[in-house]
């Protein structure tokens, strides 16, 4: 049984909390599928931790929405916020279910995992080769999202993991990056990381 902590009311911005819940739930789905696809317990554990964070946020959001409602009209419009937060919470639970498949050693049939990796166009992992133009670049300056429509969702550097890396983080040779995005962009990042593509222009 995990020990659950009491969550006390504290005033927070409903907007900030909901933004964080939406972003985290989406990140978690990608991390969780990546964990299952690449059979990574580390990624699965991160998903598990993020799930606890989302649970706490869900309580905080509900408490603040209750306090914010002054009349029936407020309640009617805030219920939409609450419904969306609850949906984001469900999505994070679903991601945690995927993580559990990996953490509890249930696993996914290796042959199917391999085949799935081939048809999955939105997620990929790839190693940064020393000749890659991405080496020593800050994630913020690469602007991968705007240029090719992909995001780096995690970096494995030796035994360390960087989840949802900040703009200031740099990409280094031998890093293994986990990316998500448009299929064409995922293909492009594989080429950029491998050093076969030397420029962002196509």
């Amino acid at each position: 049984m995990p020990r659950l902590e009491k969550i006390e009311y504290k005033p927070v911005s409903i907007r900030d909390v909901l933004t964080e819940m939406k972003d985290l739930s989406e990140l978690m789905i990608d991390l969780a599928y990546a964990a299952a696809l690449f059979n990574s317990k580390e990624l699965a554990e991160d998903v598990h931790e993020l799930e606890e964070r989302v649970d706490t946020l869900a309580y905080l959001l509900d408490m603040n929405a209750m306090v914010a409602a002054r009349d029936a009209e407020d309640a009617e419009s805030l219920v939409a916020v609450s419904a969306v937060a609850s949906a984001a919470d469900k999505i994070s639970d679903a991601a945690a279910d995927i993580a559990a498949i990996v953490l509890k050693d249930i696993g996914v049939h290796p042959l199917i995992r391999e085949a799935f990796e081939k048809v999955e166009e939105h997620l990929a992992r790839t190693k940064i080769q020393p000749v890659s133009i991405l080496v020593h670049k800050k994630i913020g300056e690469l602007e991968l999202a705007a240029r090719i429509g992909v995001d780096i969702i995690a970096i494995r550097r030796g035994i360390n993991w960087i989840i949802d890396p900040e703009d200031e983080e740099t990409v280094e040779a031998e890093d293994v990056i986990f990316v998500r995005g448009a299929p064409s962009g995922v293909k492009a990042i594989m080429g950029l990381a491998g050093g076969t593509i030397k420029t962002f222009e196509d």
Binding site: K22, A94, D105, I106, G107, F116
Partner: protein, 196 residues
């Protein structure tokens, strides 16, 4: 040989379940942002489609003839399928908010807008240079920075595979960075600057 074939079906169906559940999320958030009952209804239609697809997936896993010692590996697959279904349900709940006529709170639209990404729907006009081109040839992401989420043709949903050929009247739902929206409009509506 038989086994490889049934594996392929399992893999393809799982990929389709995953894509569809994520598409539903995109559409659900967009329906809230635009307060669009039309998009919300599309989410619910996809939910029906998901239900059937999920059953098909479970049946193909169960009938794949696995050995007792492989059962854990196949349990993992069944659970992945269940997860796609849960995500689809969550998307449908968001669409419900719109269909119940709840005016989305200002906070909601702000939160969804905060992401730089946008979703747009456009109908291919008869002047569009895209007509008769496959998606591979059209190179929409390269030209506009937006990518096609799904194509609606008549009453049917078409997944945007590279070999799909675009036709007049196709409704394209596209996602991407706000800057690309104007470029995509020009391409789909067939208006070049000199024609205006």
């Amino acid at each position: 040989m038989q086994k490889v074939k049934s594996f392929q079906k399992i893999v393809d169906t799982l990929a389709l379940l995953k894509d569809t559940s994520e598409l539903m999320l995109d559409l659900a958030y967009s329906s809230l942002l635009l307060n669009s009952t039309e998009l919300a209804k599309e989410v619910l239609e996809l939910e029906d489609y998901m239900d059937n697809l999920h059953t098909e997936f479970e049946l193909s896993v169960l009938s794949s003839g696995f050995k007792p010692k492989e059962s854990k590996d196949f349990l993992g697959l069944i659970r992945l399928g269940v997860v796609t279904e849960k995500i689809a349900d969550a998307a449908a709940e968001m669409a419900d908010v719109v269909l119940r006529g709840v005016e989305p709170h200002r906070v909601l639209t702000l939160v969804i807008k905060e992401a730089e990404e946008t979703v747009t729907r456009l109908q291919v006009s008869e002047n569009s240079p895209l007509i008769g081109k496959t998606l591979r040839e059209a190179r929409i992401p390269g030209k506009t920075g937006m990518w096609i989420l799904v194509i609606r043709r008549g009453g049917k949903w078409i997944r945007p595979k590279p070999e799909v050929m675009l036709e007049v009247g196709d409704v394209l739902l596209a996602s991407g960075y706000t800057d690309g929206e104007e470029d995509l409009k020009k391409l789909v509506l067939g208006k070049s600057p000199e024609q205006q």
